[in-house]
Amino acid sequence: MSEKVAIVTGAGRGIGRAIALRLMADGYTVLGCGRNVRGPELPDAAHWVQASVAEPMGASRILAAAQALGRVTLLVNNAGVQVEKSTLDSTDEDWDLVIGANCRGVFNMCRAVLPDMERSGGVIVNIGSISATAADPSMALYNASKAFVHGLTRSIAVDHGPNVRCNAIAPGWIMTEMADDAFALAKNPQAARADALARHPVGRMGTPEDIANMVSWLASDQAAYVSGASFTVDGGMTAASPLNPGLF
């Protein structure tokens, strides 16, 4: 039985996979989960359960699988979906999908792990978004769902300390397959990439590992006094005015 079990939701690819790999390197026994069957990208040492966090039964199945591995000391709520629509265009199905995964899923998972964590200590790291505080166009449900994540993060920190610490990360543009697809669709992919780069004071776009680094730190004792906070990891993008950097 492991003394350090971490649950990483949405661990199959992208940011979630990077978080899973990093936590394994940090000595955690990692249970990944996702709506799909286990993909080939995760190493054998990572455990996997196929379940949807949007369903209460899914959350309890994930928790049971993690508890079978040992003491669950870390939950990383990374699973999330997006629907690229305005409020007017969003359907009831879109609502169920986005709010189901991004809000209800995070809520379900937190509620599931809290009883044990309140007793014996634990850390929750939620993946929010910079879109929680400033809107991406035509992402109405996604933007709103991420604001929920940051709000719930503060509530859990306030209600369930001192044994539980809960924080959120607000990633900016992280280069995943999702972002690659977006650039590929641009009228001029090269110009779109150059424009995006110019908006990042650090001179590059983010990588999944950049987010995993912050998860690792928040989970560690280095962050023992950190709770209820949101950390923006966006290469400085939201520190700059939204005006086109090429204008001046």
Binding site: A134, K187, A192, R199, T238, S241, P242, N244, L247
Partner: protein, 263 residues
């Protein structure tokens, strides 16, 4: 006539935004003192005449004398608007210590001095259950940065924090303290920012530049001084009696967005 019977001092009163505030206050029935270092531009405004006080807000003796005059003539002060401000369009590397100090002297120390010496007069106006209104000028640049405006961004961040501090300290005395944080407003200062040095923008097409800036705004335009005066007028009025300690961003939605990648 929302401001009937009230006395107001507007620093930077001859500037783009300050002058619009003076005009609005006069139209709403207030007695208005326009304080400014500059003597350019008429203060014979549509709503009446503003009294002029020549004032360098960074000089304590001048600020004290200005408030003495207001006390002698009006006996109290209901509204102080700290609209005087300057901007240096440079990175910190290019900013001289003198430019840095001057930016803080006008934008931060000026706000401190006028507020400090206005307090006794604001207290008089706030007697008998009424409130007095002190309105500072922050900027959306106090939250997120425009390139090449380092000292300006820093001074506006300082004004934001000072606004909250003053609201906490003087709220019990009936003095409300708020800051307005404008985005892009069509003023001489903005035109200077567009052209860089006032010489036409170094070959750039200013019209195209202005249109591009409009296009980045959700409202597809930048604001006018009257847009700012509308909110200042409300904050100055009794309708805003419960509004204090806030930073009121007025930017056509500019800062509500994340960076717009042009995909």
């Amino acid at each position: 006539m929302k401001l009937q019977g009230k006395t107001a001092v507007v620093t930077g009163g001859r500037g783009g935004i300050g002058r619009a505030i003076c005009a609005r206050f006069l139209a709403e029935g207030a007695r208005v003192y326009a304080a400014d270092l500059s003597e350019g531009g008429s203060l014979d405004l549509p709503g009446g005449d503003a009294d002029f006080i020549r004032l360098d807000v960074s000089r304590e003796d001048e600020v004290r004398a200005a408030m003495d005059r207001v006390e002698a003539e009006a006996g109290k002060l209901d509204i102080l608007v700290n609209a005087a401000g300057i901007e240096v369009e440079k990175t910190i590397e290019d900013t001289t210590l003198e430019e840095w100090n001057r930016s803080f002297a006008v934008n931060v120390t000026g706000t401190f001095l006028t507020s400090k010496y206005a307090l006794p007069l604001l207290r008089k106006a706030a007697a008998n259950g009424k409130t007095a209104s002190l309105i500072n000028f922050g900027s959306y640049d106090g939250f997120i940065a425009d390139p090449g405006l380092a000292a300006y961004c820093a001074t506006k961040g300082a004004v934001h924090a000072l606004t909250r501090a003053m609201a906490c300290d003087h709220g019990p005395e009936g003095i409300r303290v708020n800051a307005i944080c404008p985005g892009y407003i069509d003023t001489p200062m903005l035109q200077s920012f567009f052209t860089g040095d006032g010489s036409g923008g170094g070959g750039k097409d200013i019209g195209a530049l202005q249109q591009a800036v409009r296009d980045v705004h959700p409202m597809r335009s930048y604001g006018t001084p009257d847009d700012i005066a509308n909110l200042v007028n409300w904050l100055a009025s009794d309708e805003a009696r419960y509004a204090s300690g806030q930073l009121w961003v007025l930017d056509g939605g500019l800062s509500a967005q994340v960076q717009q990648m042009r995909l």
